[in-house]
């Protein structure tokens, strides 16, 4: 558990190649190398001042800490520099275009950040008396109202912490509804091939068996196959619309009606709601539950992997089974409906999914974004997202194979495959080649229904000039892959790292930093 006591430690000088002098620090001007905090910090340094207050240990009992924890500290300037240097090894939407299908990386307005940091939202405790947090509850209530309005549904559960958590929420409500009707014996959830990988995992986590439904040659759910599989053992379907091939499921209403007639419920993965917001209400398609990834449709930042937020909208049929807690307006007060106050009206609720009330910090951002856009702006959002995607699809379908190009317009994302590349070249080579062109790669090898899939989602916040630049870059990289350019196999060349050995990482997992063995020991 010892940590570095000696302060700064240089990284190894790089090899002297091609007449370029070696660098003692490992850095090359602004191409920075950064050591780990465990290599540059030490146990005695701290960047926080606590003033002259007392320190006491008198009522801790026998468990008072004796052993060191092993945490290095840095001074404030060293800390700022460490994380600033790390940040410069990252690509973000603020730096350039992220054509990531199904992941929707759009501009993150800074007004949203500013509003979420207002002390009235950021500095309130989840267990304060409810009449001291009326504004916070009103934010939840307003956002809930807009989500219900935009989707044409009956109610919304705000507490799920992320999209996949929302999926779980929706499936649990379906199960609670079936059990309330004495139909708990239904044990199958049907999931089309084009579904997100979380969908089957979610169904299994909620205690269901999963059966796949194939896609048609044109990239949509095989409606006849789905209808044929319905029966008294099927609890419901989980369907993504617009789907992960980038297409709208034309038969959605027919599918919903068939599932309902067979006694099941329809879950819609709403990850792609940004393609239809303001133009189509999922409630009009017969959907019973759908989660909304607030970061995708309403621009809360992705943050390198989270936090997300996944409110779930419900039809009238599932509303009584929605989870606690939720916010209600009663007279001129907003109240928090929890276990004790749920009453008979919500007696069917399947319970609580998280400790508190959900991702308040994401709610303020999403509400800010919705108010900034308004009804007219949100409609323009989906129109521009769809326009941009079709522009990319039609600008590149002469160079790259677009397997569902003939199926009609795509929605907000364009799907290509790696067919036609030189032998030995695949999607990953195009992706890494795009990095050298200064772009984040598109989504690779997803959806699984297409070999070597490349899913491109431009979003509505890209200009025509940005799209044209991307189209030129992707065309160039694709042509190199078709010609078998060997330099593409070793791309990226202009990134902080060359291709990383993921096999080694999985075979010999090194998940925490350990003090290197002393030289004498290592030599043995």
């Amino acid at each position: 558990m010892s940590i570095n006591q000696s302060g700064w430690r240089p990284t190894s000088p790089e090899a002297n190649t091609g007449g370029v002098p070696a660098s003692v620090t490992g850095n090359k001007a602004l191409m920075l190398e950064e050591a780990l905090i465990f290599e540059i910090g030490d146990a005695k340094t701290t960047g926080v001042d606590f003033g002259e207050g007392d320190v006491a240990h008198d009522m801790l009992g026998a468990l008072t800490r004796k052993a060191p924890i092993g945490l290095p500290g840095l001074s404030e300037p060293e800390t700022v520099r460490h994380y600033t240097r790390l940040s410069r090894q990252n690509y973000g939407i603020d730096l350039g275009f992220f054509p990531l299908g199904s992941c929707t990386m759009k501009h993150n307005p800074r007004l949203n950040e500013k509003m979420a940091r207002l002390p009235g939202f950021a500095d309130v405790h989840p267990l304060q008396p409810v009449d001291t947090v009326q504004g916070a509850l009103e934010v939840i209530h307003q956002l809930a109202h807009w989500l219900v309005t935009l989707t044409g549904m009956t109610s919304v559960a705000m507490s799920p912490k992320a999209g996949a958590h929302g999926e779980l929420c929706g499936v649990l409500a379906i199960r609670a509804a079936l059990e309330a009707k004495g139909e708990g014996a239904r044990k199958i959830i049907l999931v089309p091939e084009s579904a997100h990988g979380t969908n089957p995992a979610t169904a299994a986590f909620a205690g269901y068996s999963v059966e796949d439904i194939p896609a048609t040659a044109e990239g949509r759910v095989d409606t006849e196959a789905l209808k044929a599989r319905l029966g008294p053992d099927v609890a419901g379907v989980m369907i993504t619309n617009p789907n992960t091939c980038g297409l709208f499921e034309r038969d959605m209403r027919e599918i919903s009606d068939a599932v309902h007639a067979a006694g099941g419920y329809v879950y819609c993965d709403g990850a792609n709601f940004n393609a239809i917001v303001g133009r189509v209400r999922p409630g009009d398609l017969g959907i019973d539950a759908m989660h909304i990834n607030l970061h995708k449709t309403f621009s809360t930042p992705h943050g390198g992997g989270g936090p997300g937020s996944g409110p779930v909208v419900f039809s009238a049929a599932l509303t009584p089974f929605a989870p606690l807690p939720f916010v209600e307006e009663q007279g001129d007060q907003f109240v928090l409906v929890e276990e004790e106050t749920a009453g008979e009206h919500h007696a069917g609720s399947f319970g609580r999914m998280v400790a508190f009330h959900g991702q308040m910090g994401m709610f303020t951002r999403a509400l800010t974004y919705i108010l900034s856009h308004g009804a007219d702006g949100l409609r323009q959002v989906s129109e521009d997202a769809v326009l941009n995607a079709n522009y990319i699809l039609r600008s590149l379908d002469d160079t790259l194979d677009a397997p569902f190009g003939p199926s009609g317009p795509c929605m907000h994302e364009a799907l290509f495959s790696d067919s036609g590349l030189a032998a030995g070249f695949s999607t990953i080579d195009i992706a890494k080649g795009l990095i050298d062109e200064g772009f984040h790669p598109m989504t690779m090898y997803f959806p699984l229904v297409v070999h070597g899939a490349m899913l491109v989602e431009p979003t509505e916040t890209e200009s025509k000039a940005a799209l044209d630049q991307f189209i030129a870059a992707l065309r160039s990289v694709a042509e190199r892959a078709k010609a078998g350019d060997p330099s593409l196999k070793t791309a990226p060349h202009f990134a902080p790292r060359a291709r990383l050995d993921e096999t080694l990482a999985a075979r010999k997992p090194v998940l925490v930093w350990k003090e290197p063995a002393p030289l004498a020991e290592a030599a043995e």
Binding site: M1, T45, V48, F50, A56, H57, M59, A62, T64, I69, G73, Y83, T84, Q89, N90, Y91, I93, M105, D123, V124, H125, Q128, P129, V133, G135, V139, T149, K161, A201, V210, V280, D284, H302, G304, G306, P307, E338, E340, G351, M353, V354, A355, F356, I370, L371, H373, G374, A375, L378, L387, P409, H440, E460, R497, A498, L500, A505, L511, V512, W513
Partner: protein, 456 residues
């Protein structure tokens, strides 16, 4: 519509390339009956930055913030001072607006940070390894119970009465669907954790025992006998830490041989935020790493032999294993993990220990001062920065009345355990480095007055 860069001429030129006359032609696959013919009714039209700011600020002003009042609430969410540089650094666009690091060559910043975070968390919790964060403490707690089921192939979990009731509630919700059996004990207003009662329940069907440390009433107990009892029956000990600052002052659960330690990391870097987003901490022993849910970052080398980091062991995850995945989680709390990690780096060993010491000193002072009030009794013999008072009357209306006087006075057990009359007089009080001696005096004076009025 300041976020939309396309102009009308752009749109026309693009439609021409596509070969469509109007935008409506691109929505041809949407059935007519489901198309909206105009803007959604009931929503206002777009608004200027200034107008939106005015609207949101008006809502924010309707809340009484922790910084405006003498503040004593805890129970799973704590008010700590977050150094200014933490929020500055997480707002750098390269962190804030980055994607999940699936393209490691251009995501080393996030990945190295996650590797450092995993190491800090493992050392703090006393576990061999830790993951790259979960949604929050309550969901991490449930995921740990599911993980124990996978490891032991048993489905009966024993939950301590000292576990946060919301965490219990989340676990009960999930257990209804997965078929797990949860055995819970009734909370009691006694000075010590209920470790002996838990040990007595362990048998050959037990997958795990879940215990909070310090527990919901602020009590601290030695987990070693409980760990031994679990291991004697091949069950796992899961420890839940809702106040990680405590581990700067007391031994970690991992040091006492807990198999899985989960926690809520909100205290460091994240802030109260009315309950979310928070950051779940999750660590375990090495031998269970392949059963651990969530993302993991691992060290490797690149094609030039340089050290680098990648997401790894993804064969456990939903996008590879679909319905056989270890969990359905597809996100972490990356940015909150970054805030936690920066705050921890600023503190370091010395700073965390001092922070913990200051917290404890403040809590000891407050506990003694409040227990001087006639009729008020301190429950705990040992505590860190949170303790339980027994009032001579129900605590919930007292908290309500104190809020009217501008004091946010702790969490009443009536709020946490509605309907449990035996607990109704309990008040859980938290003190941190942000609490001043004047705050304590104001609270004590007001509490004394309010109790006097009620009892008169």
């Amino acid at each position: 519509m300041r976020y939309l860069p396309l102009t009308q001429p752009d749109r026309a030129a693009m439609l021409a390339v596509i070969g469509a006359a109007t935008i409506d032609e691109l929505f041809v696959d949407v059935p007519e009956a489901a198309r909206l013919d105009g803007p959604v009714r009931d929503l206002p039209m777009h608004a200027s930055e200034m107008a939106v700011e005015r609207h949101m600020s008006a809502l924010a002003k309707k809340n009484l913030t922790a910084g405006e009042a003498p503040f004593f609430l805890g129970c799973g969410a704590y008010k700590h001072h977050v150094p200014a540089s933490v929020d500055h650094l997480i707002q750098r666009g390269e962190f804030l607006t980055a994607y999940t690091p699936y393209q490691p060559e251009i995501a080393q910043g996030t990945l190295q940070m996650l590797f450092e975070f995993q190491t800090q968390v493992a050392r703090l919790l006393g576990t061999d390894v830790a993951n790259a964060s979960m949604y929050d403490g309550s969901t991490a707690c449930w995921e740990a119970i599911v993980m124990a089921r996978r490891i032991t192939k048993r489905g009966k979990a024993i939950l301590s009465a000292g576990l946060h009731p919301h965490y219990v509630s989340v676990s009960q919700t999930m257990a209804k669907f997965t078929g797990d059996v949860l055995d819970t004990t009734d909370p009691r207003l006694v000075p010590e954790m209920d470790l002996d009662r838990l040990i007595a329940k362990i048998n050959d069907d037990t997958s795990c025992v879940v215990v909070q440390y310090p527990d919901i009433l602020g009590r601290i107990g030695d987990l070693r006998p409980l760990a031994d009892a679990c291991h004697a029956k091949k069950a796992l000990l899961i420890a839940v830490v809702t106040e990680p600052v405590a581990l700067g002052a007391i031994a970690s659960p991992g040091e006492m041989d807990a198999d899985i330690v989960v926690g809520e990391g909100q205290s460091l870097g994240v802030g109260l935020q009315f309950g979310g987003p928070y950051v779940g901490l999750f660590g375990c022993k090495d031998k269970y790493v392949r059963q651990m849910p969530g993302r993991l970052c691992g060290e490797t080398v690149d094609a030039d032999g340089r050290r680098g980091f990648v997401l790894t062991l993804s064969t456990r995850e939903q996008h590879i294993r679909r319905e056989k995945a270890t969990s359905n989680i597809c996100t972490n709390s990356g940015l909150c993990a970054l805030a936690f990690s920066i705050h921890m780096t600023l503190l370091g060993e010395a700073g965390l220990r001092r922070l913990a010491g200051v917290n404890h000193a403040g809590a000891v002072h407050a506990a003694r001062r409040l227990a001087e009030i006639p009729g008020v009794e301190l429950l705990n013999t040992h505590f860190f920065n949170e303790f339980t008072l027994k009032l001579p009357v129900e605590a919930r209306p007292v908290v309500r009345t104190l809020a009217d006087r501008g004091i946010l006075a702790g969490v009443s057990l009536g709020r946490l355990y509605p309907g449990k009359d035996a607990l109704a007089n309990g008040l859980v009080v938290a003190v941190t480095e942000t609490t001043t001696a004047e705050d304590v005096e104001t609270f004590a004076t007001a509490l004394s007055t309010v109790l006097g009025e009620i009892l008169a």
